[in-house]
Symmetry: C3
Subunit: 256 residues, 3 copies
Amino acid sequence: MTRIHPTAIVSPEAQLGADVVIGPFCVVYDNVIIGDGSVIEAFCEIGYPTPRADGKPLCIGKGGRIRSHSLFYEGSTFGDNLITGHRVTVREGTTAGENLQIGTLDDIQGSCVIGDFVRFHSNVHIGQLSTIGDFVWIFPYVVLTNDSRPPSEHLVGASIGDYAAIATMSVVLPGVKVGANTLVGAHSLVGKDVPDGMAVSGSPAKIMCEASQLKLKDGTGRQAYPWINHFRRGYPEEVVSRWLDELQARQQQREA
Amino acid sequence: MTRIHPTAIVSPEAQLGADVVIGPFCVVYDNVIIGDGSVIEAFCEIGYPTPRADGKPLCIGKGGRIRSHSLFYEGSTFGDNLITGHRVTVREGTTAGENLQIGTLDDIQGSCVIGDFVRFHSNVHIGQLSTIGDFVWIFPYVVLTNDSRPPSEHLVGASIGDYAAIATMSVVLPGVKVGANTLVGAHSLVGKDVPDGMAVSGSPAKIMCEASQLKLKDGTGRQAYPWINHFRRGYPEEVVSRWLDELQARQQQREA
Amino acid sequence: MTRIHPTAIVSPEAQLGADVVIGPFCVVYDNVIIGDGSVIEAFCEIGYPTPRADGKPLCIGKGGRIRSHSLFYEGSTFGDNLITGHRVTVREGTTAGENLQIGTLDDIQGSCVIGDFVRFHSNVHIGQLSTIGDFVWIFPYVVLTNDSRPPSEHLVGASIGDYAAIATMSVVLPGVKVGANTLVGAHSLVGKDVPDGMAVSGSPAKIMCEASQLKLKDGTGRQAYPWINHFRRGYPEEVVSRWLDELQARQQQREA
C-alpha cells in the first residue's frame, strides 16, 4: 500500500508504483514515475520542473531509496535499486543503470550516462556529459569537469571505464578517458587519458605502475586491483559469481 | 500578486514586493526586503537572524530566484536578478551587484564585496572578506581563504579581478590578488599575486603564459582569453555589445 | 519550558530536557536524548534511525545548538555545548567531547572519536574511524580518509593530535598520524605521519619546518604555533588560563 505522509505535497499527476512511501515535508511534482516499493524520505523534492527536460519525466525504478533532503529534477531515468545518501542533487537528462549508489551531498549535473552498480561516495561532482561505465567507484570530493577553456561553449565530458576507482579529491579534466580497471590516487589532477589497468597519481597525474602490482595493506599480500579480487560487499550473489568466473579465467590464461 | 504557499511561514514584518512567490515549507524571518517578482522556492530560510548583522536587513533585488533548500542570513544586500542553485548558504555583511549567479551548495561566508554579473558554479566557498570584481567566474570546489596562519585573528580576504576565471578545486590563499582577465588552472594552490592577464597553474601555482596565448580547444584556433572573445551565453545584449566595442578597440590598438 | 514548533514532528519517545526548543519543519525520531537548553533549528532531522546504531540513542548534551537543515543519526554521543552550522550530516557510532563546533555542510561519517573543543570549519569530511584529539582545527574541504586501497575492507582511520591545525583542502590518507601542535598547509596530501610540532605542506606533503618557527603575518612577529600563543576567541576563561600557565611553563623551561 502506498503511504504518503500527511505533510507531503504530492501532485495527483505523479505516478507512484505499489507500496511507494513518501516521507514528511516532501514535494513530488507532476512529471514523475516512481517504481514499486521505492521510498522517498523527508524533505525531498522529486521531479523538480525544468524546461531543459523537454517534458521527459523523472523515472525512478523499483526498490529505490532516496534519502532525506534530496532533490531530483524531471528528465532523468534511474534503474532499479537506486540508493542515495542525503542532500543529493540530480539534474535532468541523465540515464543510469541499476543498483546505483549516490552519496550524501553529491551533485550530478545532468546529461550523463551511468552504468550499473556504480558507487559514488559523498560529495562528488559529476559534470554534465560525463560517461561512467559499470562498477565504477568515485570517492569523496572528486570532480569530473567538462569545460575545456572555462568558460566556453566547448563542453566535453570525462569518461570513466568499468571497475575504475577514482580516489578522494581528484579532478578529471574535460574529455579525459580514464580506462577500465584503473586507479586514480587521491588528490590527483588527471589531464591525460589513463590506459586500462594503470594506476596514476599526482598533480598533474603520472603513471605509477600497473594497478595490479599494488598489494592490499591488510597484511595478506593479496593483489589490490582489480578490486573484484577481494571486495564484494553489497553486490548480489550472481554478480560475485560472475566475477569469480572471470578471475578464474584470467588465472588460467596466466598459467597457460 | 504575491503568492505565499499555505505551508510557508512568513513574518508579517517581512517586506515583500509585488508578485513575489514564496514556496512550500519556507521560513521568511522579520528583517527581509524582497524585490518585485522574486521567487523563493521550497525549503528556503530567508533572513536568518544573527546579531552580527547589527540590525541590517537582507535585501534581495527584483526578479531574483532563490532555488530550493537555500538559506540567506539577514544583513546582506543583493542587486536585481540574483539567481541561485539549491542549498546555497549566504551569511551576513555581503554586498553584491546585479545579475549574480550562486551555484548549488555554495557557501558565502559573509562580509564580502561582489561585483556585477559574477558566476559562482557549484560548491564554491567564498571566505569572509573576499573581494570579487565584475564578470568573474569561479568553478566548483574553489575555496577563497582568509586566515593567514590558521587559526589566527589576522584575516585578509583574497581579491579577484574583473573577468578572472578560477578553475575547479583551486585554493586562493589569504590576501592574494588574482588580477583581471586571468586564468587559474584546475587544482591549483595560489599563494602569490597573479598579474593581470596571466594564466597560472600548479600546486603551488606558477605562471604558465599570458592567458591570451591559450587557444580554444574547439578546433577553431580562436583565442580563449579574455573569454569575452567567444563566450556570451546568458549575458544581456547591452553587455555583449559593450564587449564587442572593447574587443574592437583592442584590435585597432594592436593594428595601430 | 520546552517549545516545540507546531509544524515539527516529534516522537513521543524522544527524551527532551528542560527548555529544549524544536524549530519549524523538524523531525525528531524515537531514540533521542537532548540535554537541557539545547536548540534544534528548522528543517533538522534528529535521531535518524539506522540498524548500524544497534539500538543506541543519539545523545546531545546540554546547551547545544543544531543549526537548520542538519541531520544526526541515532547512535552517537555529543558532550555539552555542541554548536553546528547548517546542513550538517552526522552518522552513527561517534563519540565527541564537549564544546565541539561542526561547520556548515560537514559530513561526519560515523564511528569516530572526537575530543573536547574541536573546531571543524565548513565542508569537511571526517571518514569513519577517525580519531581526533582536543582543540583540533580542521579547515574547509579537508578530507580524512580511511580506505587504504579503495575500495577494500581494510579501513584504518586517520588520527589527529591535540592542537593540530589542518588547512583548507588537504587530504589525510588512511592510518596517517598527524601529531600534536602540527600544521598541515593548504592543499596538501598527507601520506606519512607528521611528528609532533612540525609543519608540513605539498602534494605529497613534506616537512617544511617546525611549526613554532612560523611567524604571524600581522606584523607583530609573534610565533604563530602553537596557536594558543595568540588565538583565544571563543574559548572559556578557564581554558585560556590553563593555556597561559602552560605557555609560561614552556617559557621557563626554555630559559632554564
